[in-house]
Amino acid sequence: MKLLSGAIVLILVLAGCATTWIKVDDAGRSYKNEHYSSTLPTGWMRLESDDGLVLSKDGILLQYISILFRPHKKAFEEIEKDSSPAMLPSELAELTIAEIKAGQDEGLPSLRILRNEPAEIAGHTGFGIHLQYKTADGLRMEMLLRGVVNDNGFYLIKYSAPTLHYFNRDRQVYETLVESIQL
């Protein structure tokens, strides 16, 4: 669950791994898999990878939304912890933050939690986190995370963008997508 997963995906593309980006049109807005369904934003590009679903409008270095699903067993790979259906929202948030910090690449000691509170996904109460960090160049990045558990596993919906211009511009797209999710 690395914060810089967008850059890694980019490198994989350059390495020639097969990836297929598809533009979301009106006909393709409804998305469904075995774990969840959602309404995708028109005009954005989507990519399905092993990590989950990734969406971007201008390119993953400028903004991306990702939807991840993990079974409870080793849901948190970096810290080697499981999630469980009975886990409290604050406990889930605590492990998510630990996972992010444990997986952080060099350049994220500036990570700050701006907000961490209960939040809803598909009628279930989970957590909502807003964090900020600085890259090694000094570029501020912000991230929104919404997470929840049910009997099947752990769901994490993430939005990441530079603070400059892009984060606030596309934030509502993320919020609308989260509201559309059904588990």
Binding site: V13, L14, W21, T135, H165
Partner: protein, 255 residues
């Protein structure tokens, strides 16, 4: 001032590996200018602080920055661009901003925007990779922006737009060149280094990236040498729309 551009360099070199040589057009123009060249009149265009790192690469591939060489390369590039003129002999860029003339807060804002340009440029490059055909609409409708964070340069210094220029040069030692020679005989490619220049023209009011270009040279350019550097800088500035944007000028000039 030195930005961490390892990822960006990796990206550009990877582009070369994927495409063979830089055969795809690298110059990108904001869609509003493509649609209407006279739509973005600008009077005062300046060169922002140039940032180039020059490294020496040893026989075994160990890379070390040489600060004196970096400074020489920056001076060479600055001098090359400040004398750039179009066919009509209208000087496009006559001023450069010295970062010491900015307040500490302004320097911090500028630094972050230069880092941001690095990211935006890398992203723009990625969307135009041959393998990324699904993203090529971004090249046709080029609308990247840095936001309005640099608008203080307009209000405080009466500047309309700025050229951002980043670069990297890797110079091989004699030992490295010998290794490459022997490698060639054995049929093994040993990289000899590269020169990379990346430029962007930013509208200070809106942050729009009006034009962007890059130039990559593998082994034949030395940014420490004024003539070699000027040649590469002039190749980089081909397609520069500056004269199209100067108020009162003939919009066809420079085509």
């Amino acid at each position: 001032m030195s930005h961490h551009r390892g990822f960006f360099s990796l990206l550009l070199i990877s582009v070369l590996a994927v495409t063979g040589c830089a055969s795809t057009p690298s110059s990108k123009l904001h869609y509003t200018i493509k649609q209407d060249p006279g739509s973005r009149p600008l009077e005062q265009i300046v060169l922002l602080p140039v940032d180039i790192d020059v490294y020496e690469m040893s026989a075994g591939g160990v890379k070390e920055e040489v600060p004196e060489w970096s400074s020489t390369a920056e001076n060479n590039v600055r001098n090359a661009l400040l004398v750039t003129k179009d066919a009509g002999n209208t000087c496009c860029i006559t001023r450069h901003v010295d970062s010491s003339s900015l307040t500490p807060d302004e320097q911090e804002i500028l630094e972050e925007h230069l880092a941001f340009f690095n990211t935006v440029a890398a992203n723009a490059l990625w969307t135009t990779l041959p393998v990324n055909t699904a993203w090529h609409f971004k090249a046709e409708h080029f609308d990247y922006t840095l936001g309005d964070g640099l608008s203080f340069l307009k209000t405080k210094y009466d500047l309309d737009a700025g050229l951002i220029l980043l670069g990297e040069d890797v110079v091989s030692t004699t030992g490295r060149k010998t290794t490459a020679f022997v490698g060639a005989m054995l049929g093994v490619a040993v990289p000899l280094g590269h020169s990379i220049l990346m430029v962007g023209l930013v509208d200070f009011s809106t942050g729009d990236l009006l034009w962007m270009n890059h130039e990559v040279s593998t082994g034949s350019t030395d940014l420490r040498d004024p003539d070699s550097c000027t040649e590469m800088a002039h190749r980089l500035m081909q397609g520069y729309p500056g004269t199209l944007l100067v108020k009162g000028s003939n919009p066809q000039a420079g085509n």
